[in-house]
């Protein structure tokens, strides 16, 4: 009698997934346009009715839990000291928590930057800077400026431990909505996301959901518990690592190409080679990156911007299209759905470009260095070359006529030895939109969530 309804309030679609704990099966899925502007529950109930129609009967669910990226998702500003260190650490913590990092600042904040935070309607600010015992001056300066300029946004302080007392005083003196967490980078290149990530999630639950008009839905459902990207990250992590005696799939990469962003998740250690020297900030096993300038609609112009004139000419000639015109059309009409083969062809091409470019940025890079002691390899980022699976999720991939061609763009198709892309992965597609729901289910029933993912992700031959 135990049935779960798992809901994903996306920016475009509200997606439902019903799971029966007794039979250990997915009963069905459905989706409807998200209606966050009017009342989010309208779209939810329409999707629910669609689900009941599919199942042929009404069902009582014991648990209804949801994740959300509706109403712009969780928007965060990440602030640190040095770009490659605490700024990068702060950014990674936000991304891992499932946030959209719209603003990133380093060193002393300026008034102009603080105004950007205010006008950009951030949900949370993550303020970091300095290793423990290191630089205090910068975070104190920044906290004071945020106070002087009367920033109302919740601020999580996760910088130098030694500055905590001063920061707390500043929070009190200026009446800031501030919280103290462990340093995101306690030592040089050491990443410590746990405390700050937990606080982000707590604030998301307590404040953000209400502010975004999603709270209304809580009379219909039990709780909105996670930002959607965090649910996907948790699902991917579980799928990779396995649970108890149920084996996981090992190293894997997940890509989600959307209208505004391309999200990439990799599950693996930075390297398992002994002949490389790792550089830069410590890499997490479960890593998410978001490319805000690579997407199918809002961010389509970013795809063209990443190309040179020569590449544009080449593409236009090779594919017999006008890429700039097509991209602008999609940017101006973000609700455009492919109507004919030509539209599909262009969407397919844009999807491939997003996947290729996003992987360029996500994957680690390796360079051979000749030293008097022989050849050594200098690596930054994560080595994905042994990833066993590349998994596609999100509408663009799920609805594509040629899914494999998009996912293939993530492998090392050009044979570039400096890029640590997956070499010979197998390809899976999340055809039923279950990744985020399984991240939710995994909160209480990880074993079942893992089994259902292994059963229901479609392998591409």
């Amino acid at each position: 009698m135990s049935k779960y309804l798992l809901v994903d309030f996306g920016s475009t679609f509200t997606k439902l997934c019903a799971v029966d704990l007794e039979t250990e099966k997915i009963m069905g899925t459905s989706s409807h346009y998200t209606t966050v502007l009017e009342d989010i529950s309208i779209g939810y109930h329409k999707a629910l009715n669609l689900l009941f129609d599919k199942l042929g009967k009404k069902i009582e669910f014991e648990h209804v839990i949801a994740c959300s990226s509706a109403a712009g998702g969780l928007k965060m500003a990440a602030i640190g000291l040095v770009e490659e260190l605490t700024v990068e650490a702060a950014k990674r913590v936000c991304l891992g928590a499932g946030a959209k990092v719209d603003l990133v600042f380093s060193h002393h904040l300026t008034k102009r930057e603080v105004n950007e935070i205010k006008s950009g309607q951030m949900d949370i600010i993550l303020l970091s800077g300095g290793s423990d015992g290191g630089n205090q001056e910068n975070v104190i300066y920044n906290a004071k400026l945020l106070g002087e300029m009367n920033v109302k946004v919740p601020i999580i302080y996760a910088g130098n431990k030694s500055a905590q007392d001063d920061i707390l005083d500043i929070f009190e003196n200026y009446g800031l909505d501030g919280y103290i967490c462990d340093n995101v980078m306690p030592k040089i290149n050491k990443l410590n996301p746990k405390c700050a990530r937990g606080k982000i999630r707590e604030l998301f639950l307590k404040q953000i959901i209400e502010a975004k008009g999603i709270k209304k839905i809580e009379s219909d459902i039990d709780q909105v518990i996670l930002p959607t990207p965090n649910a996907v990250l948790q699902a991917a992590n579980l799928l990779s690592e396995g649970y108890l005696d149920e084996q996981g799939l090992g190293d894997l990469v997940v890509v989600d190409i959307g209208g505004a962003t391309t999200d990439m998740y990799s599950m693996c250690y930075a390297t398992n080679r002994s002949d490389v020297v790792l550089h830069g900030l410590e890499e997490p096993y479960a890593k998410r990156t978001v490319e805000g300038d690579l997407g199918m609609r809002y961010s389509a112009p970013g795809i063209v911007k990443s190309l040179s004139e020569r590449e544009i000419d080449y593409i236009n000639k090779e594919k017999n299209i006008d890429i700039v015109k097509e991209v602008n059309e999609r940017y101006q009409n973000v609700h455009l759905l492919p109507e004919d083969e030509r539209d599909q062809f262009i969407d397919q091409f844009l999807g491939e470009m997003c996947a290729y470019r996003a992987m360029n940025r996500h994957c680690g890079k390796i360079h051979e260095v000749i030293t008097p002691m022989g050849k050594v390899f200098n690596q930054s980022g994560k080595d994905l070359s042994n990833a066993k699976y590349v998994i596609g999720t999100g509408g663009v991939i799920i609805n594509s006529n040629n899914q494999k061609d998009i996912l293939k763009q993530m492998s090392n198709i050009l044979g570039d030895s400096t890029q640590l892309r997956p070499e010979e992965p197998d390809y899976l597609v999340d055809q039923m939109y279950i990744m985020a729901p399984m991240g939710l289910l995994a909160q209480k029933h990880p074993m079942l969530a893992l089994k259902l993912m292994k059963e229901n992700l479609k392998e591409l031959k």
Binding site: L81, V82, E84, L85, T86, G129, G130, S131, G133, G134, N135, Q136, E137, M185, K187, I188, N189, V277, H279, V369, I370, T371, P372, M373, V376, N378
Partner: protein
């Protein structure tokens, strides 16, 4: 507690001396930030900013120290680290050049202390204690 950033610069993978330096300095009561081998000038500088370091000690054992260290002081100044001391030591140049000249070259490049091959870290320790006042 004073903070010292140490590491091996350039395409140099000599890791042993670096460990010995770390061991000695930690035991002498310093907060040591070891950024390891194959480090760039920027790696040293970034670590020094975040840790509010008092001293950067650059090791170079493979003869290319001069190329690797050139411009480092200027970058420190650009990064607001004007007051951070810069030391360099190891086999910092190729072949058997007179150390007086080598010392002058690196001194002109902005290094506060320059050590010839074979210097024991214990000798440098005396300088560190004098310079950092502990």
């Amino acid at each position: 507690m004073k903070t010292i950033v140490i590491g091996v610069i350039g395409a140099d993978v000599h890791a042993v001396g670096n460990k010995i330096i770390e061991y000695t300095l930690v035991n002498s009561g310093y907060n040591v930030v070891n950024i390891g081998v194959l480090s760039s000038q920027e790696d040293f500088i970034n670590a020094a900013i975040e840790t509010d370091a008092d001293l950067i000690m650059v090791s170079s054992l493979y003869g290319h120290g001069e190329i690797d260290c050139r411009g480092m002081k200027e970058k420190c100044i650009e990064s607001g680290l004007d007051d951070v001391l810069l030391y360099v030591g190891g086999n910092i140049v190729v072949g058997k050049q007179a150390f007086g000249e080598v010392k002058k070259t690196f001194g002109d490049m902005g290094f506060d202390r320059v050590y010839p091959p074979g210097t024991s870290i214990d000798d440098a320790l005396t300088d560190i204690q004098e310079d950092l006042g502990e």
